[in-house]
Symmetry: C2
């Protein structure tokens, strides 16, 4: 029987889920893999948490003891954060250990550096758990789609945001109400900024973009707009028009110049209700990948949680167990493409991105206003798909809500047209613009 | 640069899609895998089809020439059928070649034998393309879920049936109308029996069941009921009750006796509309897998077609390219579990399966009928979830349609109760029973 000795650092949510899976499904894992996956050492900040489940021999007093253990072949980094975690991983790599991690922030920020160090030492770095929890999207991009050019990746990859947007739609809640509910259920942190501003999704998309197109990970190039300013009324209008609003993370071969640049962006997006992605509710995640050969594939599942994320950690461990004796050249590359074949395709600036839009304007209710607005769009070469006018609830103001859906237009063009429209005397206040997918 | 020399046998839909992918995406595949995948030899029944795309050196006059070529490491069998294809695969294995095939009927019927022969020669047999085309469900069950006990697999895995059922629902067509439309669009064969009777889905489920539970493939144990007798009216009633009707292939750890047996069954099924599976339309396929750790995962995509299926063939080839020099013991087992660890869990007879049901009865419109019927159910220990009564369109008959949804009951019990109910003088003709999922 082959044995893979692991060292686990961190025993929070993901750590405890991973350990529970390794212990409870030990037989099933061995039946499948022919390997016994052993927890040789484990450590965490509060060692008392470990004393019930592990023997004295297994408990290490600090992470250094784990990464220095000569019998350990794989380090499972589940500490999170970007300082100690980075030191752990780089030290482990220097010691010739393979790495499994769920640390999306670390891979998004330092993945290129970590992979370069790992390549020098010919060790594996597996990070399925870093994006979309139990959904095997990393494996899909690294292995399943190896016969394809990836055209597009579109994902709902932040469960907190998706819970809030689902609740606003299903229970007719305001953003604040939905956020409060998410916090009560443990789906949002006490300080929810990281999720609702879209930073978490930005990290994950930076990783997915690298994997999809064979470009280095470029977190700073991912355009970001969160959901905290979304209003209930736009969710209602979108509904009437046949759309749902979701926080989408999009990586796409740019349409403007054929395959010479890519788009990386995270923002609220209208999606037609009939699409599978529009039907992803609550904290669930889903990623749709379009390959030139396979067409559209969708992967749906739990994007977080101890057990789903632990499932991803274990499958990475089993993959590593199967490959510890393989030639480095035959292993799946860190970012799906061989290092020497990574491409330098640029990421398109958001101004250059072509998209279609949902626009809500508040205007004075009088003849000629619509003509003024549509004239400005026409002069900017932006064509209108449909226009709808709704009375406002507070009739006193003698104003209406005007909803426009545009055809595809360059974002820079649209921004200029919106500026002009907002300066019309008949237009009240600021407009709301939300991108739309077909 | 590593080279993998392949021999392709068969140049129909899947063959041409695979070849087109290998040629058009040659650079992308090499960028990803570090291997050049070469078509060393190719053959098909009508050699004239090959002369445009291939050099004389590449074209083999028959399959024997391909499987005997000492330079070829992998045989891609895309002939289909169960006679020549079986001979090709067994001969190739005897010659020490690895196998890639899209042949679901062959794997469903002779997979156990083929895997046993392959194990003797320590060669790989890859068959991602055999189930659900471009959807990587085989890889999910063999690799992604290695940390899980699989509890359930539920799939829409026949595009023809799903097209027909979608058309009946969306366009209000009869079964015959929808079938004709499918035939015109090329989604159904001139003789559609194989699809609409569910035989194709049965083949695929036999394979999925083996992979999910680590049991030998047992085609003859898969319960089968096709869609050809479905009536439009049941799709309409299901709709009113919040359900869609889909042909589902279900592999499940049996509920009656904890984990000591499994269910394998293909039949029309009511699914709540809010579920992702209910929203799979047209020829698209989807498979939902429930693991004890990961929870529910759904995989959605094209279940057939030259390019999606070709995509699966290519990813199998890349996986093999990476593993040709690996130890046999470290490779992913044929049926996800090591041969020596396959289990003998029995497949539950359909009579023993516990399910809930949709039942439509035509009854005389008079007082007391419902009481008679519900009394029979109560005596059989079958509890009723809801009852609805609809007037029939042909009022002349003085009869009504009675729709009952039951809670979970043993199929054998239900059948006996239905027999009694059908013999009531107030019940007209035969009832319609369709299984229901929650």
């Amino acid at each position: 029987m082959n044995v893979l000795k692991t060292g686990i650092i961190g025993f929070g949510v993901v750590g405890s889920g991973s350990v529970a899976g390794l212990i409870e499904n030990h037989n099933e894992i061995t039946r499948r893999s022919g390997h016994q996956i052993i927890i040789q050492k484990i450590t965490t900040r509060n060692l008392a948490k470990l004393s019930e489940k592990f023997s004295k021999d297994q408990i290490a007093k600090n992470w250094q003891e784990v990464v220095e253990d000569p019998e350990i072949e794989v380090i499972v980094e589940l500490v999170g954060g970007e300082t100690v975690a980075k030191e752990i991983i780089l030290t482990a790599i220097a010691n010739g250990k393979h790495i499994v991690t769920a640390n999306k922030a670390l891979i998004a920020k330092y993945g290129n550096e970590i992979f370069a160090k790992a390549a020098e030492k010919k060790v594996m770095v597996a990070y399925e758990a870093a994006v979309a929890g139990g959904i095997p999207i990393i494996k899909a991009l690294r292995e399943t789609l190896s016969g394809n050019q990836i055209l597009e990746v579109k994902g709902i990859i932040n469960g907190t945001c998706n819970y809030i947007l689902s609740a606003m739609y299903q229970h007719n809640q305001s953003f604040e109400q939905a956020l409060n509910a998410a916090q009560k259920l443990g789906y949002a942190e006490a300080d929810p900024t990281f999720d609702i501003k879209g930073v978490d999704a930005q990290h994950k998309l930076a990783i997915l973009g690298g994997l999809a197109f064979g470009i280095p990970i470029q977190l700073d190039k991912v355009y970001l707009q969160g959901i905290s300013k979304l209003e209930k009324i736009d969710i209602e209008y979108a509904d009437k028009l046949g759309y749902r609003i979701k926080l989408l993370a999009i990586a796409r071969r740019a349409k403007t110049e054929t395959h010479s640049s890519v788009e990386l962006r995270v923002h609220p997006t209208l999606i037609p209700k009939r699409q599978m992605l529009a039907n992803v509710e609550g904290v669930m995640n889903a990623v749709e990948v379009t390959g030139d050969r396979v067409g559209k594939l969708l992967f749906y599942g739990a994007g977080a949680g101890a057990n789903p994320t632990g499932s991803a950690i274990i499958s990475d461990l089993v993959d590593i167990a199967r490959d510890v004796n393989s030639n480095y050249e035959n292993r799946v590359p860190y970012l799906a493409f061989l290092d020497k074949h990574l491409s330098s395709e640029p990421v398109l600036a958001i101004d250059e991105v072509v998209s279609s839009f949902y626009i809500r304007l508040q205007t004075i209710d009088q003849a000629g206003v619509l003509a003024q607005i549509t004239t400005i769009f026409a002069e900017s070469n932006i064509s209108i798909d449909s226009v709808l006018q709704y009375e406002r609830e507070d009739q006193s103001k003698n104003s209406v809500n005007l909803i426009l859906l545009t055809h595809e237009a360059r974002e820079g063009n649209l921004a200029k047209a919106i500026d002009k429209i907002e300066s019309l005397p008949s237009v009240i206040g600021k407009s709301i613009t939300i991108r739309r997918e077909h």
